[in-house]
Symmetry: C2
Subunit: 336 residues, 2 copies
Amino acid sequence: MPTVTLKDVAKVAGVSYATVSRAISGSPEISEETRRRILKLCKEMGYTPNSVARSMVKRHTEIMGLIVPSLNNPFMSELTAHLEIYARTRGYNLMVCNSSYDYDLEKEVFSLLVGRQVDGIIMIPVGHESYEPLNALTSQVPTVFISENMKDYPENYVSVDNHRGMQIATEYLYSLGHRSILYFGARSDSKTHQLRLDGYLSTCEKLSIEPHVLRSSYTRSSREVGYAMGGEYFSRPHQETAILCAADMLAIGVMQAAFEAGVRIPKDVSLMGFDNISFSALPQIDLTTVNQPFQQMAIASVDMLLDRIKNPRSEHAKLILPPSLIVRKSCRALGK
Amino acid sequence: MPTVTLKDVAKVAGVSYATVSRAISGSPEISEETRRRILKLCKEMGYTPNSVARSMVKRHTEIMGLIVPSLNNPFMSELTAHLEIYARTRGYNLMVCNSSYDYDLEKEVFSLLVGRQVDGIIMIPVGHESYEPLNALTSQVPTVFISENMKDYPENYVSVDNHRGMQIATEYLYSLGHRSILYFGARSDSKTHQLRLDGYLSTCEKLSIEPHVLRSSYTRSSREVGYAMGGEYFSRPHQETAILCAADMLAIGVMQAAFEAGVRIPKDVSLMGFDNISFSALPQIDLTTVNQPFQQMAIASVDMLLDRIKNPRSEHAKLILPPSLIVRKSCRALGK
DNA sequence: TACAATAACGGAAACGTTTACAATAACGCT
DNA sequence: AGCGTTATTGTAAACGTTTCCGTTATTGTA
């Protein structure tokens, strides 16, 4: 409890505390002999540098803020794990905040984090129509988004190629013989979902098949939403042979609704997701989906942020990672 | 980028910066008039208090450290979410670290966090035989564990009553007519798993049925481990009518193995888990299990930590929350 | 009117570091 | 011997707050 400081060490070492500081910081302007002596003393006295004091003078904290809408969603938590682990290898700790899918809360925690003097912020934004209101915030501290961003407000972000991903998915379904494909999406106020929808729509056009879109009034792609949408859909007459969901969680909810409605997957209807969260690999779920390269995204995000911290005045950066198809058992080929 | 400080505000307000400080901190020794004037000015100038500087003089950071073995496990991530949200309502931010189930890494990040001057640490420990090696660490900063702790080294912790939970589970299976119950557990070097096993064992004895225990050589209760254990089990002759798993993730893995081995749940064998992670409610899984009250545990943990921060010299505290039975569809009653 | 009490504010120290600058010592060179 | 270098160390300022203490102005009281 009685924390030992630089001064304490200096006192018993009989040197000035600048010397002690130099010993620990690995400064060259100190003799090897005294360095060893002091380092040994530090160990003995149980000295740990106070990084708050250090941050005070160095003007940076070596802390990154992370804002996520939720941690219950495996997509977020898996990403968070990668983020934290990689950031730590680069000497940064993560201060994590839930925005709970709340737009105001998101802004609030953002400000909170800049007050905390984080060196930068990584943010998985809740769905926004526009990023404009965030600009006042992001000008305060280097920020990178994980997810697409509005074109009219270029910012730094890394993302999977959502448009391409849905194209891949749609084409896959088409190649299986499906001509009537229903798209299940959340409300499109998020750029991510807009791009996914566009990917589907444009591919339909290219393939000359008619698009069918069902969009939830909710903005979140949760299991509950998928369950509700699926329930309603299956309770009415329907003729689509495949359902393409904007997110795995949605698909898992749909699967649940299908199960309860007695429609079998993939026998009666094929089902695809997007994200490739770990649970979609469960044999009971076994969802064919589009992969997001989580770890790559995490690494790219912190690298990008690091870059912007070093070089805040640089051009806005973006990195769009390629998605890939993960074939499992939730889709079947249509006999003619 | 040119951050505005107290002094800047003071300068344009024409007061000393002590006055500005008083205005924001809500000190009584300032006139309402100047306070309003200064607060308005702060808004205009976009001043945000530097909490690093504040921490420097106040000697606390209002930051809690959180150490978890993993975030991929829904048990951890759900808990983490609750922890963060509740801590924030109490004015604390969370610095999250993965120990990656690595004993040495756990100690390393612990030290890292105390260097960061966190006011306290909440820790979900990787399984330990003994907490003794941690004592050197926990003496440095108030710590509360989530999970049972060694009896010989009393520490602060909150936990679900693991013993009682397994007792409930075993009795439930018994009440369904099962007399031959297999216990699937991870290697027992964690107190949690020890207590769960004991709960099973003692209940077997009470009920006069013979216990059957299969323990993994791995310490983690992951889906992969459950899958491997289940695969091996189902590939040999077996006669147990029910399998009781030490954790939901384990059970989900077993379920996968059962599926592939052609054994149907609950028709051929009943299956129970422990934890009640959100995914166990999926209709495709629908696992009967024992509930851990996540939110209660989260709230209790930060309250307990807050308490110890205020009062470091107090008695060690512990809180054991009652588990409850969650009946779903993975167990069936045995006809005689 | 004089004086004590109080309200409002300013000055300055302190928190534990880093670092620019100054100081000293040791050394090599001419 | 004197001087410039260099290596090593010390001194002190700075980072942005909070807070103790002192000062001034204002008010109330006798």
